[in-house]
Symmetry: C2
Subunit: 192 residues, 2 copies
């Protein structure tokens, strides 16, 4: 019997991580996000922050991957992908849990009984949220969001060949901006 | 005060129409689908079946619209679009309701308080369903589904310039194949 897992993909600033944590709390199961990154870090020997960044860059640099010939064999990002793949598979075997990001939906597509969730919200909702959560930066929040989304989409596309944010790739997609974070939590809990 | 409306876009065979009707029943509000087409028909003087077909063909013929110069002014499909636009706007003003298809999400984007829903399911679920609902045809159910989806996407794109099936265009998207028709009904009812 496969474990029941919730995977959450999300636009930056949409509250996907918060929603994942709240859902896990309500269901009494574990939520993996930065914890997972730490685990990847300790197993690979890489610095945690480096992995956190590399996890959202497609190999060969942002967006250049699709055009590179990759004749030089696997690079660091590929290596990380392999470790991440292995760890996510192991976590899913251990018991029911929520996994936020890291292409877990794709990695577990045949290995677990997944509820595949995508959380998004419009730019203004997310811009306000990231300033509140992460503070001001030199770049405008809108620019930070666009950059981050592009990176996530490129990374996801590179490793999974699936279109990020396409309704057809998920069991449910929710607009946290119009529905509210708590409503999203309730819906996911009800669908689990 | 704007009326609260549910708009349902859907892949052919995903059960979007059935879901719309069940939601409306449970909420005690009206659902417009074929009824709407009939109303369009009687107002425009066109034959109902002709309008039903034309409603899913982008002007100038399927997929050719984007390449045509349209120097000849509005055609029949454009005329129907205008009537449809007017009728959907009027229905939304009359009272809360569910509207299935017909780009109602786009038409009402500033005119009503909309819960924008998209229903989809994988090909095998839909293939089984359309054979059960509409019977066998000479074409395979998979081919019928692909043709119909392409038409809906092209029509939607032509008149709204929005990507059909993109999570970001909806408040909620649901996979009726994995979640089940009744669960989709419950979720939409809860979100209303």
């Amino acid at each position: 019997m496969k474990n029941r897992i919730i995977t959450i993909s999300r636009e930056f600033g949409s509250g996907g991580r918060t929603i994942g944590k709240k859902v896990a709390e309500k269901l009494g199961i574990l939520c993996y996000d930065s914890e997972l990154i730490e685990k990847v870090a300790s197993e690979s020997g890489f610095n945690a922050n480096y992995i956190k960044d590399a996890g959202e860059y497609a190999p060969g640099g942002f967006l250049s991957s699709a055009f590179s010939h990759r004749s030089s064999g696997p690079n660091n990002a590929d290596y990380l992908w392999t470790i991440q793949y292995k760890i996510i598979t192991e976590l899913a075997e251990k018991g029911p849990c929520v996994i936020v990001g890291r292409c877990a939906d794709y990695i577990l597509r045949e290995k677990a009984d997944c509820l595949r969730v995508f959380i998004h919200a419009d730019l203004s909702f997310r811009a306000e949220r990231i300033v509140k959560e992460y503070g001001e930066r030199e770049e405008s929040p809108e620019q930070r969001l666009k950059d981050k989304d592009k990176r996530r989409a490129a990374y996801h596309r590179f490793y999974t060949n699936m279109k990020w944010g396409h309704a057809q790739n998920y069991d449910v997609t929710l607009n946290s901006g119009t529905l509210g974070i708590d409503k999203c939590v309730d819906i996911i809990k009800e669908l689990y």
